[in-house]
Symmetry: C2
Subunit: 157 residues, 2 copies
C-alpha cells in the first residue's frame, strides 16, 4: 500500500499533541477561572493518581511511571500549594502517606467536571459516536500498560 502524500505520517503525532494540548489548555483556563489558577496542567493527573485513599511517593511514582524522586518533588510542590498533605504511616516509620487536602479534592473534582464538559464539546462537534471511536481506536494502538491499568486506583478503583 502506497503512502498517501496528502497525509504524511508526522501529521498524526502533531494532531494528537495538538488535541491533547488543546484539552489541557482549556482545562487550565477554566480551572483558573474557578479558583485554581496555580494548578498546573499536569497536576490534575497527579491528584487523580493520588486518589481518594492516598498513597506514598514511591507508589505515586509507580502509577505515574516516573521515579520516586520526581514524584516526591511533585508532591512537594502540591503540598506547598495546599493540594496535598503528608502524614506519617503509623505502621511503617519509613513511609509518608500522601493525601489530598479538601482543596485537593475540590481541584480534582472540578478537573473531572471540566474534562467531562470538554469531551461533551467534542461530541457536539464531531458526534458522540466519533469521539467514542476515537477513544476506542487510540486504546487499540496504545500499549495497555501505558496507563498502569494493572495498578488499582486509576479507573473507578
Amino acid at each position: 500500500m502506497a503512502t498517501d502524500p496528502d497525509r504524511p505520517g508526522f501529521l498524526l503525532p502533531l494532531l494528537l499533541l495538538a488535541g491533547f494540548r488543546t484539552l489541557i489548555d482549556d482545562l487550565h483556563a477554566e480551572l483558573a477561572r474557578q479558583g485554581h489558577p496555580e494548578l498546573r496542567p499536569l497536576h490534575g493527573f497527579v491528584l487523580q493518581a493520588v486518589g481518594a485513599g492516598g498513597t506514598t511517593a514511591t507508589g505515586l511514582g509507580q502509577r505515574l511511571g516516573i521515579s520516586k524522586q520526581a514524584a516526591g518533588k511533585t508532591v512537594d510542590r502540591l503540598v506547598a500549594l495546599g493540594y496535598l498533605e503528608r502524614a506519617d504511616d503509623p505502621h511503617d516509620a519509613r513511609r509518608k502517606l500522601v493525601r489530598m487536602t479538601p482543596r485537593g479534592h475540590d481541584g480534582l473534582h472540578r478537573s473531572a467536571v471540566v474534562f467531562d464538559q470538554l469531551r461533551q464539546r467534542w461530541a457536539d462537534t464531531l458526534g458522540a459516536d466519533r469521539v467514542a471511536a476515537l477513544e476506542d481506536d487510540l486504546r487499540a494502538v496504545t500499549p495497555a500498560n501505558w496507563f498502569r491499568l494493572d495498578v488499582p486506583g486509576w479507573f473507578g478503583g
Copy 2:
C-alpha cells in the same frame, strides 16, 4: 445529555497523550537503530520546522510557537550534535541563518519515513479509513493556528 460514567472526560487527554508518546517513543527507538541515537523526540519537529531552505532563530521560534531564546538554545544543541549549522546572512548582519547539515537532512528524512511506517501500522490495525477519520476529527476540534499553518514551510511548502 448525561455524562457516560464509563467514559470519563479525563480519558480523552490521557489517550491522546498515550497515542502521541507511543508514536514518538517508537520513532525514537527506530531512529536510534538507524544511527541517530542522540536525536531527541522533539528534534524531528525542529528539523521539520527548519526546513530545506533554512531559517533563523526568530523564524524558528515563530514556527514552533516558542520564544526566540528557546529556539536559539535548541539550535545550539542541534548544532553541537551536528544536525544544524549557523551561517551569517550576507544581507543582514544581525541575522544568522540556520541550515540543516547533511546529517540533519538524513535524520529528517528517516524521521519522515519512520512516521509513515508507523501511520501505516496504525492503518493495518484500525483500517486506513479510521486513521484518516481520526486525523480529520482532531483537525476539526483543534484550533487551526495550532500548527502555524499560516507560516509557510510546515506542510508541503
